[in-house]
Amino acid sequence: MLTRENVVLHVADVHKNFGGLHALSDIDLQVEEGKTHAIIGPNGAGKSTLLNVIIGRLPPSSGAVVFDGIVLTGKKPHEINQLGVARVFQTPEIFADLSILQNVMTPAFARRDGAFKINMFRAVDNEKEIRQEAEAMLEDVGLIDRREGHAGALSRGDKRRLELAMCLIQKPRLLLLDEPTAGMSRHDTNTTIELLKKIKARGMTKVIIEHDMHVVFSLADRVTVLAQGRIIAAGSPDEVRGNPVVQEAYLGGAHL
């Protein structure tokens, strides 16, 4: 496949085997700058494995993941983040023991100070800029009123929004979302979709792993369909929706 213009993320010919099991075969996909790229597929299709390969949690058996001209394969999670890739997990990963405001300030420090800095002679209270930035972010996700509260006490939907705020404050070039609405009520799902649409307006590139077709078709510019570790279809949401192969593999023939 030829490399298109302004491709930010290129998953190049990735294979991943677990023993004899081919979890991923011949995966080649390109994500363009500013676009929302959804990866869908039935359970066990290899979606989460693919995301873990992209983020460096799992090394691919062969092939490479290239972000903005830099090979991510073999890099540590913090190095990948410092390059501008942030990740939202399937189960929200937040700092449950810290306050909601501190949860959002921490990633802002990572962006400003890098992966390691002995910054022990300033008081957090005097970091006005970071604090204001974090408060603006919490305003955006609707958690500002509870900034002093314990993050661990939030509901699952609110934890997800907090985690999203933690990623967004870093202004990443690429945001990876692993089933951002899994386990959410319809109401929370809709507010999350609205929030993601708002980010989209800011021109951030996103890769979404998703189960919920409602979410996919509300947000995605491009859709890649995985089944049994292979790409079986790719294209715009409408193309994919009408593709008989997808309907066969995904829903056993039912219409999407």
Binding site: E93, T106, N119, M120, A123, R146, N190, E194
Partner: protein, 383 residues
């Protein structure tokens, strides 16, 4: 000073300093107002504060911090023997050497977390103990312990004056460090350590350490290289343990291997948990409490108890004395153990949590009521 410390921090520090400096008066009603014991309060306060920077902030439970304490003691002693009887070079030397040990031990141990980290630090500490006890006898004088002699070289001192006759004792630029001087000397270091611990806790660096304790995975995916953070915390706390060890040699000029034993490592864990893990004042209170038990409870005998229970009739008094006698004197560990069990079961946050609960019951309600408030702004509404 503006921007250096918030008003709340300043109040806390001034309050803490006042209590520490007035201890000779405040401790009198408890029978603890003698310099030797109060100096131990200072020294083990430093040890516990330093330990808490690692355990309280990062959550890494070291079971080998006595090694750094012991290394500090030996290093200070060698400075007294080889360089000078002045306490300052001894302390600098001890802190530096303890820092080197902490760097090496921390570098290896921090490759693992949880129980494996604890076991690794324990193993290193036991190795240090056995080095001190037997293998390195020429340096540590083994079982007997290392002490000063009038024949020591003391190069720096002899440049300026002849060796004084009699047993050499540490001093500070000629000022004696025995008695109350020694207490105030150590108190200055405790206050400096407290200030450092407070700075770290309230700094961005401290917030990163708390983040590591809370969710190390998230820290990594947030772009932090967590290993150097934990290693820095480990080295700082090791150096403070070395400082405490050096200060102990200043008052009690004998460096022995038993200070490195695992029971000594366990003791600082107890101090921190008893007072309140992750709090600023808690570890110091825990240290004071344990040293108080060790020195005061252990000195109670049946006569003291008899006079304590003198209001009881004869028969009952003997029963009371017999029962209570098991918990004092030789049995002081029993009382301490009982206290520890009660605290961990009923106040898992230590004495500081108890203080907070009492404060919450009697004091005015805090501004924390925001936590429970309903979400008012949904992202759609905010748009």
């Amino acid at each position: 000073m503006a921007g250096f410390m918030s008003r709340r921090d300043l109040t806390l520090f001034v309050g803490f300093a006042a209590i520490v400096l007035l201890l000779p008066i405040l401790a009198a009603p408890f029978g603890a107002a003698y310099p030797d014991l109060l100096q131990r309060f200072m020294i083990f306060g430093i040890f516990a504060l330093g330990f808490n920077i690692l355990f309280g902030l990062t959550g890494y439970l070291s079971f080998g911090h006595a090694a750094f304490f012991g290394v500090g003691s030996y290093a200070a002693m060698w400075s007294f023997k080889l360089l000078s009887l002045n306490a300052l070079p001894a302390i600098i030397f001890a802190v530096a050497i303890a820092g080197v040990f902490a760097l090496v031990i921390g570098y290896v141990s921090l490759r693992r977390s949880g129980i494996y980290f604890s076991i690794l630090t324990l193993a290193f500490a036991q190795m240090c103990y056995s080095l001190a006890y037997s293998v390195l006898t020429p340096i540590t004088n083994g079982e007997t312990g290392l002490r000063m002699a009038s024949s020591d070289p003391r190069v720096l001192d002899r440049l300026f004056f002849d060796a004084p006759a009699g047993v050499p004792v540490p001093s500070l630029f000629g000022m004696s460090l025995s008695g109350w001087n020694g207490f105030y000397f150590s108190a200055v270091f405790l206050l400096a350590t407290f200030l450092l611990a407070m700075r770290i806790t309230n700094s961005p660096f401290g917030m990163m350490l708390k983040g590591i304790k809370s969710n190390q995975n998230r820290m990594n995916y947030t772009g932090f290289n967590t290993r150097p953070y934990t290693l820095t915390a480990f080295v700082i706390s090791g150096m403070l343990a070395g400082l405490a060890g050096a200060l102990l040699v200043v008052t009690d000029p004998l460096a022995g291997a038993e200070r490195m034993q695992w029971t000594a490592s366990g003791e600082v864990v107890l101090m921190t948990i008893l007072g309140g893990v992750g709090t600023l004042v808690g570890p110091v209170i825990g240290a004071w409490l344990i040293k108080y038990f060790e020195n005061i409870f252990s000195s109670f005998n049946d006569n003291v108890l008899s006079s304590f229970f003198s209001f009881l009739p004869d028969g009952a008094r003997e029963v009371a004395v017999t029962i209570a006698g098991k918990f004092v004197g030789e049995g002081w560990h029993l009382s301490l153990g009982l206290l520890f069990v009660l605290i961990v079961v009923f106040l898992p946050g230590g004495i500081m949590e108890g203080a907070r609960r009492i404060g919450a019951r009697f004091g005015r309600p805090r501004n924390g009521s925001r936590v429970g408030r309903q979400r008012e702004l949904s992202p759609t509404a905010a748009e």
